[in-house]
């Protein structure tokens, strides 16, 4: 392992170890919050593949999170635990199929139109779940028995146990991160980076860019499905709000806060967003003003974006540049 690999892997390993040890020191509330944050980090990572890597700003990514959460709730039997062995693949497949359909149509547009079309599709999905009786309408739907992973009569993983669920979520986060890191180094990943930088040039080199973008869109949808699955299992409840446009906006904000273009930016962004939100919602700190948490949160985000244009993960490089200006190389 060379020096730069070590520099990248060691902080990640330390972070994983700290998160893995957290349930032994943190209270129930904070462990619960950590699970939510990890689920949001998976969601943000899935969008990072589209926005940061491929340059496709989707404003409808919550649709896939929500479709997966609803699929989990609707496919789970009412009275017995579903097996993760079929439930998770089924949820991912359904969501990927939805992403294939939505992506195939939206990717015919570019730039601002792409943003608007993805938003429109997400709103359509929102109203489907909002207005359809089978999904519980605006009341949402409960998932009564959480899925398990069993071999024969022996239960390997019971997601109803908080500690098991915590480590399953952490494992999923690590796997999604590793998968995206691997894609980043792969031929597909390099092609997507090229499409982000200059799609026209890629076409001139012989890349039919549409299928590549569609592949990224479907992959991003499928990874968001993992987050949606975990979300539905965690709360045991889904409602149409998880598909609403502000959820798509929130996950975009996480990427921007953390820094676009890196995987750790997506994870850091998700953690930072949840921390800021919890901070401003704290009645212990803000008293009665805490119920107006959205105002200071918005201001804090504006301040972050203004002061750190490359996000939190871009801060060290930004500080180096201000301290030691490098003459522009022509």
């Amino acid at each position: 392992m060379n020096e730069s690999m070590t520099a990248r892997v060691v902080p990640l390993a330390v972070a994983c170890a700290l998160v893995a040890a957290f349930p032994f020191v943190g209270g129930k509330f904070y462990v619960d919050l950590m699970v939510t944050t990890m689920i949001l980090a998976i969601f943000a990572l899935s969008l990072e593949l589209l926005v940061g890597r491929t340059g496709l700003v989707s404003f409808g990514h919550a649709a896939f999170f929500g479709i997966a959460a609803y699929a989990t709730a609707l496919l789970s039997p009412q009275a017995e635990a579903a097996s993760m062995l079929w439930l998770l693949p089924a949820v991912v497949a359904i969501t990927a199929l939805a992403a294939l359909g939505i992506g195939a149509l939206s990717l015919r547009t570019r730039g601002i139109y792409f943003i608007m079309v993805t938003l429109a599709f997400a709103q359509m999905a929102y109203f489907v779940f909002h207005d359809m009786k089978f999904a519980g309408g605006s009341d949402g739907r409960y998932l009564y028995v959480k899925p398990v992973l069993a071999a024969g009569s022996y239960t390997l993983l019971d997601l109803d146990r908080p500690l098991t669920f915590y480590y399953v979520t952490l494992g999923a986060l690590i796997l999604v991160y590793a998968l995206l890191a691997s894609i980043g180094r792969s031929r597909l990943g390099h092609a997507l980076t090229g499409i982000k930088a200059n799609e026209q040039r890629m076409r001139a080199a012989g890349f039919s860019t549409y299928p590549y973008k569609l592949a990224a869109f479907v992959l991003a949808g499928a990874l968001a499905a993992i987050a949606g699955f975990l979300y539905a299992v965690k709360d045991g409840f889904v409602n149409p709000e998880i598909l609403a446009w502000h959820q798509s906006g929130t996950v975009l904000l996480m990427l921007i806060l953390g820094g676009l273009g890196t995987l750790r930016g997506a994870v850091v962004g998700a953690f930072l967003f949840v921390l800021l939100k919890e901070f401003f919602q704290s009645e212990a700190l803000f008293g009665a003003f805490a119920k107006h948490w959205q105002l200071p949160l918005g201001l804090a985000i504006i301040a972050c974006v203004a002061l750190m244009p490359n996000g939190v993960t871009g801060l060290p490089a930004q500080l180096r540049r201000t301290r030691m200006p490098v003459p522009h190389a022509g």
Binding site: R187, L188, H190, A191, R203, A205, G206
Partner: protein, 258 residues
């Protein structure tokens, strides 16, 4: 069609609304020749290259690559079949190294492009092609430099190296000499001379001095239409060309004579 004709465009037209940017233009490109297209700004030269490369569709006419009719082929398919192009404005990936720029360009041709488990750096075929193209383009010493830090002339060379990485037969070069100093121009002309034997080169260029030195054939376009095609000598002595076009660049053309 004889084997040595690589690209044949017949009666190509391209209209933008009421404007006829390219008006029934026919050009052929033979292996081992530099065919230069000249004309004033707005004569339709870049539009012609865009139509030949498949970047924009022709409103009329046909394009053949050897014996295949590629008129309806999209640009990526043409590129994979051997039609390479460079752009008037440099379009390199500035944050990647010279080598990575070329390896990425080579990648479209050689493997399952959706491969997302093998590292791109591990593709021996693309790497070999990239190294070869870098050497051909005279950038051997610069392979690991960040492309954005190259000089203007080197960036133009990289633009050609990226094109060569795709193993093209036809090179459509849109003003490769734009903005270059005399020394860089000489280097680029020497590079084009080395590429000539294996390729058919369509060269769009404003530097008449260079065009008359390197071109085997010259096509002159005015207002979207071809007014003359011939050897440099024929073009120089064509009265219609002199009236329509060479008038304003008579001196460099004469200088090229001596």
């Amino acid at each position: 069609m004889p084997d040595d004709i690589l690209l044949k465009a017949s009666e190509i037209s391209r209209r933008f609304g009421g404007l006829v940017a390219v008006d029934r233009v026919s050009v052929t490109l033979t292996r081992g020749e530099v065919h230069s297209v000249i004309g004033t700004n707005g004569a339709g030269k870049s539009t012609l290259v865009n139509v030949l490369a498949g970047e924009i569709a022709a409103s009329g006419g046909r394009v053949h690559l050897q014996d295949r009719d590629i008129t309806r082929w999209p640009q990526p398919k043409r590129a994979r079949a051997g039609v390479g192009r460079t752009y008037q404005r440099t379009t390199i990936f500035p944050r990647a190294t010279v080598f990575e720029n070329c390896r990425l360009s080579a990648q479209a041709h050689h493997q399952h492009p959706f491969n997302w488990w093998h590292a791109a750096a591990g593709c021996a075929k693309s790497s070999a092609l990239a190294h070869h193209a870098i050497e051909q383009a005279g950038l051997a010493g610069q392979a690991h430099r960040i492309a954005g830090t190259l000089s203007h002339g080197q960036k133009r060379q990289l633009e050609i190296a990226m094109c060569l990485s795709t193993t093209p037969q036809v090179l459509l070069l849109d003003e490769p000499l734009a903005g270059m100093g005399p020394e860089e121009t000489e280097r680029m002309l020497a590079l084009l001379a080395t590429l000539k034997p294996g390729h058919g080169i369509l060269l769009i260029e404003h530097d008449m001095d260079a065009v008359f030195r390197i071109a085997d054939r010259i096509t002159v376009m005015v207002n979207g239409a071809v007014i003359a095609t011939g050897t440099p000598d024929e073009i120089r002595n064509n009265p219609e060309v002199q009236i329509a076009y060479l008038g304003e660049i008579e001196r460099p053309a004469e200088a090229a004579l001596t």
